[in-house]
């Protein structure tokens, strides 16, 4: 399975600021996914990022709030813009690999907004 790293691993931010989260994969992948996991909750898909095209956002998530870049087949960034305390969550990136299309997850970025 792919080895996925994320930066930063955690951060504490002030309300109204923005944070960019990086996701690096050790192999080329077509699609990368960004999820949010609020404390004690399940995972919710934010968007799917394909290289060379605009990200596809799920209902309830918009590009102005969560802009995504996908400059190549091994890297993606998610920005959380104009943050509020409600954005405090774990943000995870994942990739789908193999014949089974299993999604493999990065270690996550734990964000706290004060």
């Amino acid at each position: 399975s792919a080895v996925i790293s994320q930066k930063p691993s955690r951060d504490i931010c002030q309300r109204g600021t923005s944070l960019t989260i990086q996701c690096q994969v050790d192999s080329q992948v077509t699609m990368m996914f960004w999820y949010r996991q609020q404390p004690g909750q399940s995972l919710t898909l934010i968007a799917t990022a394909n290289q060379g095209s605009e990200a596809t956002y799920e209902s309830g998530f918009v590009i102005d709030k969560f802009p995504i870049s996908r400059p190549n087949l091994t890297f993606s960034t998610l920005t959380v813009s104009n943050m509020s305390p409600e954005d405090s969550s774990i943000y995870l990136c994942s990739v789908a690999q193999g014949l089974t299309d299993t999604q493999y997850f990065g270690p996550g970025t734990r964000l706290t907004v004060l």
Binding site: S1, M31, F33, Q41, S42, L43, T44, L45, T48, L92, A96, T100, D101, T102, Q103, Y104, F105, G106, P107, G108
Partner: protein, 112 residues
């Protein structure tokens, strides 16, 4: 809209006991995945079930899929403390590998 439910949401069990976690989903799919998440950690893939009647086993865990009933089970045999974690099922629909919908998770605590 696809809904994925898990039952129970919380499970406290004694070591050595057996128990089953259920995952129900609301629309047709023949791809279901089980993940484990330890506190403060990311998700680890456990099982991939790709067809009706599929059964996979790894150690004390066994997963099965009944696509007609839209039901998957994760059976725990002779539980040990190391199995304490949150277990998620995820259903893949619409486009293979692209649209995972996760269940709410089952938080398992195995007591000595």
């Amino acid at each position: 809209e696809l809904k994925v439910e898990q039952n129970p949401l919380f499970l406290s069990m004694q070591e050595g006991k057996n128990y089953t976690i259920y995952c129900n989903y609301s629309t047709t799919s023949d791809r279901l995945y089980w993940y484990r998440q330890d506190p403060g950690k990311s998700l680890e893939s456990l099982f991939v079930l790709l067809s009706n009647g599929a059964v996979k086993q790894e150690g004390r865990l066994m997963a099965s899929l009944d696509t007609k009933a839209r039901l998957s089970t994760l059976h725990i045999t002779a539980a040990v403390h190391d199995l304490s974690a949150t277990y998620f099922c995820a259903v893949d629909w619409v486009n293979y590998g692209q649209n995972f919908v996760f269940g709410p998770g089952t938080r398992l605590s195995v007591l000595p």
